[in-house]
């Protein structure tokens, strides 16, 4: 059924999940960097 939906829906949803994932990724990477910095000092 996914293939019935065509390229438009597939691309829209994948771009959405990509951007949401990017946000989570950068937030967690920032957190890891800061905890690393805190552990050093």
């Amino acid at each position: 059924m996914i293939s019935d939906y065509g390229i438009y829906i597939w691309s829209a949803y994948s771009i959405t999940i990509f951007i949401l994932g990017l946000n989570i990724f950068f937030a967690l990477r920032e957190k890891r960097k800061i905890l690393h910095l805190l552990k050093k000092s």
């Binding site: 059924m1 939906y5 065509g6 829209a12 771009i15 959405t16 951007i19 800061i34 910095l37």
Partner: protein
Amino acid sequence: MFAWLNKNFLSLRAFYINTTWLIPWIMTGFSLCFIYGMFTGLFIAPADYQQGDGFRIIYVHVPSAFAAMFIYLMMAICAMITLIWRVKITAICMSCSGPIGAWFTLLALITGSIWGKPMWGTWWIWDARLTSVLILLFIYLGFIALQSAIENSRTRDLATSIMTIVGIINLPIIHYSVIWWNTLHQGPTISKLSAPSIASSMLYPLLAMISAFILFYFLIVVIRMRNQILMREIKS
């Protein structure tokens, strides 16, 4: 009374402690809403009479557009509180929300173009709502630029607050643009006072996705605010 408020909610330390137990709750709420919305929206909601299955992009386009405006509203409220009462936690909230809002606006524009191609035949058109959402994106980008240009943290908070408040005029323009100018973009689907003009089997996934995006915003902004609080702790 203000001292009690300050100690238990508004201080950076209190915010950090309060959000430590809050994050798992936001994560569960987001996961539930997101999974329900995606599953129901993609598989269970019936296909639209006119547009066929292509209308399902509404389940990412409307939530991201709503989130983009909601985030700017949050930023504007935080800006006013920062300017009037010089509260630091709202300044941190505002500065962390900026990039998130920019991403959601970009997502709204992209998903809108992808939806526009099969529905209207064009990727882009300069009608009132698209132009004003593009202006919102530029305002977000200008906010991010101003924020990174000023080093002194107090000046930066106050200057970005003023800029956010000046840009609040754009939000009513976006919201009412489909009512004032009767051009290509369709009218409002969900309004506060009248019954929604959309079938309820299509409505519930939409509401779930909107809630999911808003909970996602809260999750990310709380994580980033905690990072900022730790960063300020390191710097001092």
